[in-house]
Amino acid sequence: MQDLTQALVELIRRTSTDLPADMELALREAREREAAGSAAQGALDTMLVNTEMSRAKSRPICQDTGTPIFEVHYPVGWSTRKLAAQIKQAVTIATEKSYLRPNAVDAISGDNSGDNSGVEFPTIHFHEWDEDAVKVDLMLKGGGCENVGAQYSLPNAPLKAGRDLEGVRRVALDAVTRAQGQGCAPGVLGIAVGGDRGASYAFSKQQLFRPLGDRNPDPELAALEETIKAQANELGIGPMGFGGETTVLDVQMDTMHRLPASFFVSVSYMCWANRRRSMTVRGDEVTYS
C-alpha cells in the first residue's frame, strides 16, 4: 500500500487555495446580473479578486478553512486504518504550512488542539469500490455556512409543509430566508430527503460535491432543484445579504429511503467559497480535479 501523505497535502492545498472553475464562472455570471455600483456587485467583485489572489499566492481563499470532510473510495485490500492515519498526518502538515487554520477545539473547554487533530476530526468516510484506484474527495466546509444548515421533520405545521415535494420546497425556502447573508451568500444548497437524522445530513453534504448545473436524473427532482433555485433568488437577500439578484448559485438534491414514521429534509448550505476537489491515485499516477 502506497503512502499518499504528500499527495493528500497537495489535495488540501489545492482545495483551500484554488476555487473550482464552476464556482468562479457562476460568480462571474452573478456579477453581471447585479446593478452597476451596488454593494452586491462590489461584494462579488471582491470575491472574484480574492479568488485570483488566493490562487496566485497559494493562500487560503477564506481564513475559515472549515471542517475537512474526506470521502475516500478505495480498492479491495487497502487498509482504511492506514489511510486514515495518512489523512491525519497530511492535515497536520497542511496546518503547519498555513493551508489550514488550526480549527479543532475541545467541545467544552474550547482548547485548540493546534494542528487540526481531535476526536472525530477531521471527518473521514470510507467507501470500498471495485475500481483499481483510490479517489479522495475533499470539502472544506466553514462554520458560517454550517451554522445556517437546517433539518426539518415533516409535516411542519407553521410552514404548511406536508410529506411531499411541495413540503420540501417550502422548508428549503424557509432555510434560505433564515440564513439571510450569514452563510456567505451566494451559496449552494445540498438537500437530502429521507434517511435518519444523521444519514440525512451526511447525504445532503454529498450533494455539494456535484458540479454546478448537474441535475437529478429523476425529472421531478430536477424540476424542483430548478424551482427552489429560482424562488430562492426571488427572496432578494443577495450577495453577503446586501440585497440583490443572486442568493443561491445552485440547488442539488436527492432522496434516500426513510422509515415510514420519519420524513426528514436536510438542507446543507455551502458558502460562495465552495471548496471541494478530488484526487485520483492509479498506480504511481496522481491526478487532481
Binding site: M53, R59, C62, Q63, T65, R101, G142, G144, E234, G241
Partner: protein, 207 residues
C-alpha cells in the same frame, strides 16, 4: 466616494456615514471574537473596570487603543517567519454571535466601529445610535485580499489561552475595505433585507 477612516475615529466622521457607504480603515485595530468578547465582558465590564490583577496590563492597553477604535470579528490564518507573525488569510467571521456582548463593549471602551459579517441585531444597532458607532461589513470569505491590507502584526494577546482564531490580534491595517450596513442614525441594511425577504417568503409559500 470612499470614506477614509483613521483610528482613532472622531464622532463627526461616524455621523457622516450612512448605510451603503463604502469605507477604508487605516490604523491599529484588534481582532476579537467569541472567547475575547466573553472575556472582556466578564473581566472588565461586569467588574466595573476592576479585573483580576493579572489582567490589568491588557485592560489598560485595550482602554487606550479601543478608545475611538475598531474591533474586527476575525479568526485569521497566520504564519510566523523569523519570529514575526504575518496574516495569511483574514476575512470576517459571523458577527451575530457577539450580539449579547457588543453593546456593552461599545459603551465601555468608546468603540467607534465593529467590522464583521452577517450584521448584528437591535441591541447593537441601539448602541451604535446612542454611542455614535457603526457596523461595517467586510466580504466574508475574502481571506487573502483582506490579509494583504494587514501591513503589520504588532502583537498578540491571549494566544495561549484562546488559540489562534480566538486570540486578540493587534494589527496595523491600511485601506481595509468595508461597507456600512448599520449606521449611527438607526438604519440597518440587515433589518431591511430580512423584512423584505420574509415578506417574499410568505408570498412564495401562500397556501
Amino acid at each position: 466616494m470612499i470614506h477614509k477612516l483613521t483610528v482613532p475615529i472622531p464622532d463627526e466622521a461616524i455621523e457622516a456615514l450612512h448605510v451603503g457607504d463604502q469605507v477604508e480603515i487605516s490604523g491599529v485595530i484588534f481582532t476579537a471574537r467569541d472567547a475575547a468578547h466573553k472575556y472582556m465582558v466578564e473581566q472588565f465590564i461586569k467588574t466595573d473596570g476592576n479585573p483580576q490583577e493579572s489582567e490589568w496590563p491588557l485592560y489598560e492597553l485595550l482602554q487606550d487603543k479601543l478608545n475611538g477604535g475598531v474591533i474586527y470579528h476575525c479568526g485569521p490564518v497566520v504564519a510566523k517567519d523569523a519570529g514575526q507573525w504575518r496574516f495569511v488569510a483574514a476575512g470576517p467571521t459571523t458577527s451575530i454571535r457577539e450580539e449579547v456582548y457588543q453593546d456593552l463593549v461599545i459603551e465601555h471602551f468608546n468603540l467607534k466601529a465593529v467590522i464583521g459579517k452577517g450584521g448584528m441585531g437591535p441591541r447593537t444597532l441601539a448602541a451604535c445610535q446612542k454611542f455614535k458607532a457603526v457596523y461595517l461589513h467586510a466580504v466574508g470569505g475574502a481571506g487573502t485580499l483582506i490579509a494583504e491590507r494587514v501591513v503589520e502584526v504588532e502583537d498578540v494577546h491571549k494566544l495561549k489561552e484562546f488559540g489562534v482564531p480566538e486570540a486578540f490580534w493587534q494589527i496595523r491595517v491600511e485601506g481595509f475595505p468595508a461597507v456600512v450596513t448599520m449606521d449611527s442614525h438607526g438604519q440597518s441594511v440587515h433589518a431591511d433585507v430580512a423584512a423584505q425577504s420574509e415578506a417574499k417568503l410568505k408570498e412564495l409559500v401562500a397556501a
